[in-house]
Subunit: 281 residues, 2 copies
């Protein structure tokens, strides 16, 4: 999915929502657990009721790898199902990062075999671990800039001799490795002042923003700090949507949760002038 | 595999060799490609002729993920085959690193489901991304300290205001997150002076050392710089062993290559006093 297509989806759906499919078999309602492929069936139900509200889906690889080869099949099936719904960016949240020949293999695994649009990457190993993922039309490297967890402070917030912090310098490097057409940054929601500061470094790049909801990030603060004239943000919610309700209520509650986030986003997009007033329903 | 068992294997095999199974279907000899599971068959042949010379095997996940669910089955089968040979440490080279609940899922996927002994991890997200992997007897977190690639300089070699570099501070942090019983460090072979310097920071921890061979690292320089009284190093060779020969010669050539590395290691272990002179055959 190209940047132009992504921006069109944002305008059409009036949304910056990314639904995180961190699906845990033990947490999904019992009636799905009776299915032959519980995770897949639950994911499809979630996608069915959110795809008009979400511009992106993020699949957290850990949750599929924990199910072995069956998990890999669930992953493939879920990606196929999302794809069938049209104009949604599909992100493999894999946080890979390795030397060139290995990175090329990961690019093959994710972009060609799994056919996702985007993959999250860790920048610790530098330029040659990122380059194999950029330069392909409609494919995205999503590089960790500053993450939403407490441990972010251990490495990312170290102060540099040259001034600034590790995450600032890493982000300055990263935006030189790709363009706003093929590289996004992960910028956690839990420190809104940091979102604003990263927006000053990377004015046109999309940010994938985790940490709203279960991790405590404030949606409106993130929208204020990070939005651009193109939207510029993909704001992820995983547990807040997947586990919004229990039993038979799980799927309707997921839609309600997604709808609430999307409505807040639509208002912000309108206020920022990304949407014409006439286009907002 | 516990540290005590690992050290016993090093002494018994007179080796610090880790064989990297970065197996590419296109690069393996034709007679394996005719098998129903080519990668698995090739891996088993390699393990068969190297397990008396190697104390560890490292499986690079990218090469298996690039084959989809079949790759995952190859991975499981290869791990089972190595396990059947006894006293070899099995490392999943996955370079994962994510927030706590995701890290716990990865620990489940790798330690419980795949039943590997060790997993490589990226420290960019800090303490809470590493903690779920430590504290389990016989299981290891292998944290990236300083890597063997050129891109290492982009982030790892940045100089800090407090003195030292990002990789030095990251390593100081990392060794506080685990013990020499459950945490190792990845220390690339391509900068031997750095190996010596990291040894001064982490005196008892094992180092997993990639970069000898195809990437240009010098084996004797690494042995001089990093060995301890327990051995203290696992030195990886992937392409130098897997693709040492072609066609029918591939497997014998792999053994010859592994034997050459092991012989150099045995001599160094003897000189360092890790082995008694009487025990060296």
């Amino acid at each position: 999915m190209t940047r132009t297509q992504l921006i069109a989806a944002i305008r059409r759906k009036k949304s910056l929502l990314c639904v995180g499919l961190d699906t845990e078999e033990l947490l999904i309602p019992e009636h799905f657990r009776a299915e032959s492929h519980p995770v897949r069936a639950f994911n499809e139900a979630i996608v069915e009721v959110t795809h008009d509200l979400a511009v992106a889906y993020k699949l957290n690889l850990a949750f599929y790898e924990a199910l072995g080869d069956q998990g890999w099949l669930d992953l493939e099936a879920t990606i196929g199902y999302i794809r069938s719904k049209g104009d949604c960016l599909i992100i493999a949240d894999a946080k890979r990062g390795d030397i060139g020949n290995t990175a090329r293999k990961y690019a093959e695994a994710f972009f060609d075999l799994l056919d996702v649009d985007a993959i999250t990457l860790s920048p610790y190993m530098g330029k040659d671990s990122i380059i194999p993922f950029v330069g392909r039309e409609g494919k995205w490297a999503v590089v960790l800039g500053v993450t939403s967890n407490a441990g972010a402070e251990d490495v990312q917030f170290l102060e540099l001799k040259q001034g600034g912090t590790v995450y600032q310098r890493t982000i300055q490097h990263s935006i030189g490795w790709g363009t706003p057409e093929d590289l996004m940054l992960v910028v956690g929601a839990t420190r809104p002042q940091v979102v604003a500061e990263v927006r000053n470094i990377a004015k046109d790049h999309f940010f994938l923003v985790p940490g709203v909801g279960a991790q405590g990030g404030d949606l409106n603060a993130v929208l204020d700090a990070g939005m651009t004239k193109d939207g510029g943000l993909l704001i992820n919610s995983s547990r807040g949507i997947l586990y919004a309700g229990a039993g038979e209520d799980a799927i309707p509650a997921a839609r309600t949760a997604a709808r609430g986030l999307q409505a807040t986003m639509a208002l912000a997009l309108l206020e920022k002038g990304v949407l014409d007033r006439s286009s907002v329903g």
